[in-house]
Amino acid sequence: MVRIVAQPSATQRGRPLDKGGESVDIRSASKHYDAVRALDNVSLNVAPREFVSLLGPSGSGKTTLLGILGGFIPPSSGSIHFGDRDVTLLPPHKRDIGVVFQNYALFPHMSVGENVAFPLRARQLPKADWPDKVRAALAMVGLAGYESRGISQLSGGQRQRVALARAMIFEPRLILMDEPLSALDKQLREAMQIELRELHKRIGATIIYVTHDQREALTMSDRVAILKDGKLVQIDKPQRLHDHPADSFVASFIGEASLLPVRRADACSVVLGPAILRSTRPVPDGDELMLAVHSEKLLIDDGAGDAARNRLTGKVTDVVYQGESLRVFLQLADGTSLSLRQPSHYEAARRIPPLGGELTVTLHPEDTIVVPKARP
């Protein structure tokens, strides 16, 4: 007879997963390729255990910054510090950071298990310890028992998980990820976003995450750094970024905002065509100002709202049905256009006039965001 003994597996008991995070200090990092400034004097401080996203359009320098952190790209000037170590000139294999590449970079000639065990081999850990660690790492990403599979037999989502397991098996205190979910379809991507968040909480490592998807950045991050043309434009918590954009570029990049040119009237109001809009936020100085109107912050005027609200009237030029919501495009008298979003239920749809009809919308002074116009 075989005696069956209940035994907690090494993955459940064993060592604590949480090794803490590394703090990262980027001081005036620049990278020039001849005339191209891929990265232009970027300074950034990341706290231990923080999840920071680098967000920006294609070509804004995200990969370059990640490459500098990973040690693959030497900066033209500036310095990088992990904790109190200056790592600017440290080669990648001595940095002890986990990197997840955009296309996963799994080794095609190795099995899943061999891929995941690679960091252990590189660190010359005793071979006897590998199977347990590999099993635990694969279990963590939901791929228990996949050790002997070949890479080509995996789906995109599974490859992604293997890349994650491989980057985490040596318990790095800092993990870099370059658009790791961009190749996945929407459903899987959103599921993985939530999983990554949970994983981050469990392992407690600092994560620097590159993406060009603003929703992804807002969903996952403690703070989001916005890059444009190699420059750091703003770094803030998701909500502050959304509600207090530094300029019109950030406002256009985060959320769904219409940008309308306005003139400064005084410290708390601006002129938009014939209308004067009040804002509870201080209006910045400068000649070129933009009003950033988030489409979800416009309400259809039912006449009952308080008089303090700003009102805008325009013609309905288009109504787009988008499932859970309707997007209504309005053209103001001076020709500028903006859009508002209405939940798609009967009550809301009833209040939208037919195309060409007039519609008055209200914008609360708390939501009236005026930003300086960004340089093109």
Partner: protein
């Protein structure tokens, strides 16, 4: 049971197959005319001389000169192949890691000799290696040797010249394979803690093996049938199989014997590849897991 619906995709597939066949036809015809027919004719000649005969093959088995020649041919081909890998791999590796401009320079230097005829290059080696050649004179003037070294009219000279002529056939497939290895994989290796040496052994080298295999096959097969360099630089002592063939035809007008030698060489190569493919998991080297 209801009758299965006729599958319209079948019809489509059949039409596609016909198209493919039509497209491949010119190539198939060429292979038939230029490879299958001559080889068939060769085989026929070797066994038909006023009736069926195995006399040509009996002689190959019985006579010492044939055995020695075959052994020498394989020995030289193997030596050339091994040396070509050892020399070619670093060249291809360098070309694959330097910037685009430099890799073009390196590859141009590798391919440049193609522009000169094999005959000219063989004679050039003769001029360099012979008793009163450049190398021997230089060494004597430097006082490193007293008597001239026998660098040519032997196996050594044959190997050197053959290696020189066949090196591009090693470097080019190697470079093509190496260049396709994604740099991400090497960066990933480094980020996971592997130094340059481990990254090379564990990642770059295994992924370059298909190129090594392709290059070795090309060089080995080409040197098996090489004729000019052993003829000019072998000094009559290095008799390779190709020379047996030409002597049988030119000196003795023995087409049957020459054909038989060719057929045996062909079969030997086929046998070698069969055995190698049993021991080297070719699909694992060539394919991805």
């Amino acid at each position: 049971m209801p009758a299965p619906m006729p599958d319209i995709s079948r019809q489509y597939q059949r039409r596609e197959q016909l198209t493919m066949l039509a497209l491949a036809f010119p190539a198939l015809l060429m292979i038939l005319l230029l490879v299958v027919l001559p080889v068939g004719w060769l085989a026929w000649q070797s066994i038909w001389h006023d009736g069926f005969t195995l006399e040509n093959y009996r002689r190959i088995l019985a006579e010492d000169i044939y055995w020695r020649s075959f052994a020498l041919t394989f020995e030289i081909s193997l030596t050339v192949t091994v040396l070509a890998v050892l020399l070619g791999y670093p060249i291809a590796y360098a070309a694959s890691i330097v910037s685009r401009g430099w890799s073009i320079v390196i590859l141009a230097l590798v391919v440049l000799p193609f522009w000169t005829s094999v005959l000219v290059r063989a004679y050039a080696w003769l001029a360099l290696l012979q008793r009163t050649g450049v190398i021997n004179q230089l060494l004597r003037q430097l006082g490193l040797i007293d008597a001239p070294l026998a660098l040519v009219h032997n196996t050594f000279g044959t190997v050197v010249a053959t290696l020189h002529i066949l090196l591009p056939f090693m470097v080019l497939p190697l470079y093509a394979t190496m260049q396709k290895i994604p740099r991400d994989l090497l960066q990933a290796g480094a980020s996971l803690g592997a130094g340059p040496v481990l990254t090379f052994w564990q990642i770059f080298l295994p992924l370059s093996l298909p190129g090594v295999l392709a290059g070795c096959t090309l060089v080995f097969v080409l040197s098996l049938g090489f004729y000019i360099t052993p003829e000019l630089l072998g000094g009559g002592r290095t008799v390779m199989v190709s020379m047996l063939v030409s002597r049988n035809v030119e000196l003795y007008d023995q087409w049957g014997a020459a054909s038989a030698v060719g057929v045996v060489l062909l079969l030997a190569v086929a046998a070698i590849f069969f055995v190698v493919s049993r021991f080297v998991p070719l699909d694992r080297v060539l394919g991805q897991r």
